[in-house]
Symmetry: C2
Subunit: 292 residues, 2 copies
């Protein structure tokens, strides 16, 4: 049976480190890092994510502000707010929780955030730096959190074959880049698979590391995992489940029961990549504060 | 024996198209596209490349200007020139031929070029757009030229497995992204291999499309090519050769003789990717002119 990669515990480990840095900062009379999240409308998932980020801010000693707007806010008003925050020297990071209402151009809003405060790493400049291996930018939080997890567990990546399933701009694409660049948690040979891949099982079976980020619950089965592989499950689909207080449960992209028979290490859902994502965001916000 | 992918002829085909567009522009009383190349010092390779770009400009009806500076120019002076060109509304594209002398920070110069005039596609914003599949930016000329070649020959990419060897910022990395995005010449499953890849031959043998961009003459042999694969050779190493007028010959990364036994289609060196690169640059300059 596979070892569980305990994202919750590792996340706590890194949050403790961040908290200690913040306390040292404050002891020197410096301002604590300040993260602002903009939340438009009342999507349930978005509210949960923003609340989790706010909670993490408080845990590590950051100032965390949530600005809530009704879903009738105009793009112009939203952009005006983004520009104000860009110019506010007391704010280190700004995230705009997606999705936004349909009348707002998400890309226009994302690109309006100053790259130096774009702790979600969605700005073209940060994506470009990532693609070039330039570490002065911000890496989007989920791929960053995964590299932190790999590092914590001492998982060797150099010369290994990683298969990344899914080519989204916020997970699959940046993850494929990070694993293949010439960094400490890179130097993998990376195969990027997606909906058009014709021989996914055959490719997965070659992988030393599998990262599943497609949003299809239980899609990756044990018979697609090479014995001894490391399996990272990025899926966070909400499935109705009456037995849960919330009425739903989170489902990963990996069929945990069968995959953990073959894998040497595997992330659970929940408690794997999810908490690491939030820690990645905290890490980026601290980085921004230190560069200010 | 493999069909030769004739970059020279295909390049001519696209240059004829560009020329026709420029003539139509001029007939309407509009200004022809204008590309400026900055050449610092007197590196032999750089002079050859810049001369080839200047020649192509004239062939397609562009204004082509080469600004030559001694290798003693300061970074400050060079940046001042870049800023002037950025503000000149009569100039559509600016390229700074690399390498630059050691006392100049190449990245600082590259990033100083306005993204809207960065027809080499090296600016972080253009690299970020590429990574996100946003086609409003500029794709670096070699990967762009390769996609134009694939398109011309009607080579199907969707669902195919491409192996890209080499992870440079100007070829391997952007090529791996282009082949895997959801575009007409994309939708490949892409494996990005590099110096740390442990089982290159085994991976290459799975590839329907091989792109070799490592700068090691003759590195990819026929026994690494699956029968029927398409082979794209990006190598352009200069090897001493006394029998040539110039004293050197260009060598590709692929051992042409053995690879063409197995490949269905293959690019020669010279006359393959090289001319397509220059055509990619012309295409980007025309695009910039049209957007101005």
């Amino acid at each position: 049976m596979a070892e569980i990669l305990d994202g919750k515990a590792v996340s706590q480990h890194f949050k403790d480190q961040i908290k200690a840095e913040v306390e040292a900062m404050i002891a020197l009379g410096k301002r604590a890092p300040h993260l602002v999240a903009i939340l438009v409308g009342n999507d349930g998932g978005s509210q949960t994510y923003v609340a989790a980020k706010e909670k993490a801010c408080h845990e590590v000693g950051f100032t965390g502000t949530v600005l809530r707007y009704p879903d009738t806010i105009s793009q112009e008003e939203l952009l005006k707010k983004v520009h104000e925050i860009n110019e506010d020297s007391e704010i280190d990071g700004l995230i705009v929780q997606l999705p936004l209402p349909k009348h707002i151009d998400e890309n226009a809003v994302t690109q309006a955030i100053k790259p130096e405060k774009d702790v979600d790493g969605f700005h073209d400049i940060n994506m470009g730096k990532l693609a070039k291996g330039d570490t002065t930018g911000y890496t989007s939080a989920t791929p960053l959190g995964i590299t932190m997890l790999l590092k914590y567990y001492g998982i060797k990546t150099s010369g290994k074959h990683a298969v990344v399933i899914g080519r989204s701009n916020i997970v699959g694409r940046p993850m494929s880049i990070l694993l293949s660049d010439s960094s400490e948690t890179g130097n993998c040979t990376v195969t990027l698979c997606h909906s058009r891949t014709s021989n996914l099982k055959e490719l997965c079976l070659q992988a030393d590391i599998v990262v599943a980020a497609i949003g299809r619950p239980g899609f990756v089965k044990g018979d697609m995992i090479k014995p001894g592989a490391v399996v990272i499950d990025v899926g966070t689909t909400r499935l109705d489940n009456a037995s849960k207080k919330a009425g739903w449960r989170l489902a990963g992209d990996v069929d945990f029961a069968s995959a953990s028979e073959n894998a040497s290490m595997i992330t659970p859902v929940p408690g794997g990549v999810g908490p690491m994502t939030i820690t990645g965001l905290m890490f980026n916000t601290l980085k921004s504060r230190k560069l200010r």
